[in-house]
Amino acid sequence: MATLARLQARRLAVGHQYYFRNSVVDAFREKENAAAVKIQSWFRGCQIRAYLRHLSRSAEIIQKWWRSYLGRTHYQLIVKVAYYTMKMNLYNAMAVRIQRRWRGYKVRKYLFNYFYFKEYLRAVSETNGAIREALEEFAEMKEREEKKANLEREEKKKDYQARKMHYLLSTKQIPGVYNSPFRKEPDPWELRLQKAKPLTHRRPKVKQENCTDPANWLACTSARSFPQSEILPPINRKQCQGPFRDITDVLEQRYKPLESTLWVAEPINELKLAREELRRKEWVRNINDNTFLPFASYNKNKKYIPSIHTSSKYSPDSYGKQHFRAENPRKWICDKDFQTVLPSFDLFCKYGKLYSKAGQIV
């Protein structure tokens, strides 16, 4: 406790002493402090400057290296590109050369082949020349034909005229119009008149009935008639291979003229025709055409007494002998009746046409 009191008494003095001592030292201290601060700051400044210098140097080095690296890569790129361009230029130049050659070839060969075109034009002009000649010939031929036709027409006309004027021909006594004695030679018309046949009146054309006479059958048919003359064998024809018959035989058989049967050969109305024939022959001989009338006036007043065979009503009926059917002319379609036909003998049709030789005279 004593200490405590001592200390407490001293407290104030301590405080004063403390303050007093500090204040004396304080001025010095400030100076020292300032100096220390100065030195320290200077030293720190140097330190930091050195540090900064170091930093900048290292930054420089880093930048230097980095920039050199960049430059090198850039340069490599440039070199690469230049090399590449150079190569491409070379390739392009070479490609141009190839393309040039190829295009020239293509155009000359395929698109516009000058020599082919020249040939073509030459061929066209040759064809033209040929066609022109052919057409000229054709025109000439036509003209010639026309002239010929005209001349023929003229000739025909003159001929016809000469025929009409044939009476102008000169006789021995009288020279004709065209044969005047004062001329040196007769007019050409005179010669024509001499050659001309006088015209006759035109006879009315008798209409020929269609003759069904089979003997003239071949002559009646027109364009489609069979050849009537002997068949000529074909000239120089090679024999066809195979089992073919001789061509002459075949043609002979094919174009054998019709051998009609007696049935067909005889006309249907032969009897009638024969009667007509007879009547015509008699008509030629007759002086007078009127039928012979028995002395008409001699029996004028006498009544005619028919014979008993024809007068009775039980007379032989004509049915069965003269006519054979019940006829009704009103029902007929055309005006004519049927024609009676006599059948021919069957025997004669087969005459000479049977294969067997039976009955033939050897």
């Binding site: 073509y120 034009l121 066209v124 064809t127 033209n128 066609i131 022109r132 054709f138 025109a139 036509k142």
Partner: protein
């Protein structure tokens, strides 16, 4: 009744009364009277438009059509004659005939045995089908075409002629109708008939084939496949003018479609034949031939060169100068333009024949029609753009209008820088002088051309030939101070 028909050679007046007189006679018992009445009606209708209308209005047609089906051949002929006479005047009358159902009966008449009846029926159908496409379609719908093709094969020449002319009239209207005709197999028969010696028949056949070929490439190819070349070329040499015209029309219609068809014609020597044909006739007959050359040359430069070596250009220039009609001149100008427009060789071939001045005069003359002026201008332009033949160009410097002058000077400016002989010739012939005298706006294309021409020559010559040079020299003399020693 017979006297009635005889008197009808003189055109009667008072038609209406005649119709009412004739109509009951058509229904007469005696067939001769019916036929004569029908014949009288036909002659009346044939003479005059109004009379034909009166026939239609008088309700005579249904009666005719009805009895056409039943009566004998003389009546059929007379009735078909009436239908033909009525149908030929105008489309309305033809429509009236179609409306009263005459087509079916006429087609039935086509199957008749008598060739006279067939001819009359075919003629009537032809006059009906001639007017327009609908009527032709009606005729085709009635089934006439196969029967017409059968009629063509008949031996009678008159029937063949008229059937060919009807086929031509039917196929001219539209491609479908032409296709119908072709489908009926008509082309083979028509092609065979070209060999027939009768000239009127050949005319009709050629006209029919050309109407078929004109519509499309396929139809033209079908006509060509029927092997008409080179037989058609013989028709070009015939004496008959219309046959030449129809033959050249046919060749033109074939050539105009594609280059291959034109090539075919050239290879067959058709061009030479056509050129000879053009040379041997005058007037309208030439026109299809000229157009054919134009079409062939238009397709490609090879074909144009083929036309040139066949000596086509002198012939065309003769046509151009001699023909009086404008449309033929226009066609010739167009054809020359087509020939000359391809390459300098072609243009030179056209220019050597001295046609360019003719074309220029046609373009400039006030009497030429619009069409002719347009075509000659186009031809001149086309040829000039490729022409490097300077002697032919020089006259143009003197009397051409400005729009053509531009092209001429342009051509000079293209040629002169490369050819020294041409430069010399240009100077000596006075061309350079003329060029200096041309007044052009600065900056225009013409001025550029003139400049490029002037650049080909040394300064002194250009100055020497420029206008007013003598004046400038004299001025210099005036202002010159002589050297006084």
């Amino acid at each position: 009744i017979h006297s009635l028909t005889m008197d009808l050679w003189i055109p009667p007046n008072g038609q209406e009364g005649v119709m009412s007189l004739l109509r009951p006679l058509l229904l007469d018992v005696v067939p001769t009277i019916q036929q004569t009445a029908a014949l009288a009606l036909g002659r009346l209708a044939n003479y005059n438009d109004d009379l034909a209308e009166a026939v239609v209005k008088g309700d005579i047609l249904p009666q005719l059509v009805y009895s056409l089906a039943e009566q004998n051949r003389f009546y059929k002929k007379a009735a078909a004659f009436v239908l033909r006479a009525v149908g030929k005047h105008s489309p309305q009358l033809a429509q009236a005939i179609v409306d009263c159902g005459a087509l079916d009966t006429l087609v039935i008449c086509l199957e008749d045995f008598d060739p006279g009846v067939k001819e009359a029926a075919v003629w009537a159908l032809g006059y009906i089908a001639r007017h327009n496409a609908e009527l032709s379609q009606a005729v085709v719908d009635a089934g006439a075409v196969p029967l017409l093709v059968l009629c063509i094969q008949e031996p009678e020449i008159a029937l063949k002629r008229i059937a060919a002319s009807v086929l031509s009239d039917i196929s001219k209207h539209s491609p479908e109708l032409a296709q119908t005709v072709v489908d009926a197999g008509a082309i083979a028969y028509l092609a065979q008939m070209i060999l027939n010696p009768d000239s009127k028949l050949k005319r009709q056949v050629l006209s029919a084939l050309s109407q078929v070929a004109k519509h499309s490439v396929d139809l033209a190819e079908m006509v060509v496949e029927a092997e008409i070349f080179p037989v058609v070329l013989t028709c070009l040499k015939d004496k008959d003018e219309y046959m030449k015209k129809n033959a050249s029309t046919l060749i033109r219609e074939i050539a105009k479609h594609t280059p291959e068809l034109s090539q075919l014609i050239v290879n067959a020597g058709g061009v030479a034949a056509v050129i000879d044909c053009i040379g041997s006739c005058k007037g309208n007959i030439r026109l299809p031939g000229i157009m054919m050359l134009g079409y062939v040359a238009a397709h490609s430069e090879n074909l144009a060169m083929a036309v040139i070596i066949s000596k086509g250009v002198p012939q065309l220039s003769v046509c151009l100068s001699e023909e009086p009609e404008d449309h033929i001149k226009a066609a010739a100008a167009w054809a020359l333009g087509q020939i000359g427009r391809h390459t300098p060789e072609h243009a030179r071939a056209v220019a050597v024949t001295n046609t360019l001045p003719v074309l220029l005069s046609l373009y400039m003359s006030a009497e030429s029609s619009e069409d002719l002026q347009i075509k000659s201008k186009k031809a001149i332009k086309n040829i000039l753009q490729k022409c490097t033949y300077l002697p032919a160009l020089e006259p143009f410097l003197y009397d051409a209008p400005p729009n053509i002058l531009k092209h001429v000077v342009g051509q000079f400016s293209k040629v002169l820088p490369h050819d020294s002989k041409a430069r010399r010739l240009f100077v000596t012939s006075g061309g350079l002088k003329k060029v200096q005298e041309i007044k052009a706006e600065p900056g225009s294309v013409l001025q550029e051309y003139i400049n490029s021409i002037n650049n080909c020559y040394p300064e002194e010559i250009v100055r020497y030939y420029s206008p007013g040079y003598s004046d400038t020299l004299l001025q210099r003399v005036d202002s010159y101070q002589p050297l006084i020693n």
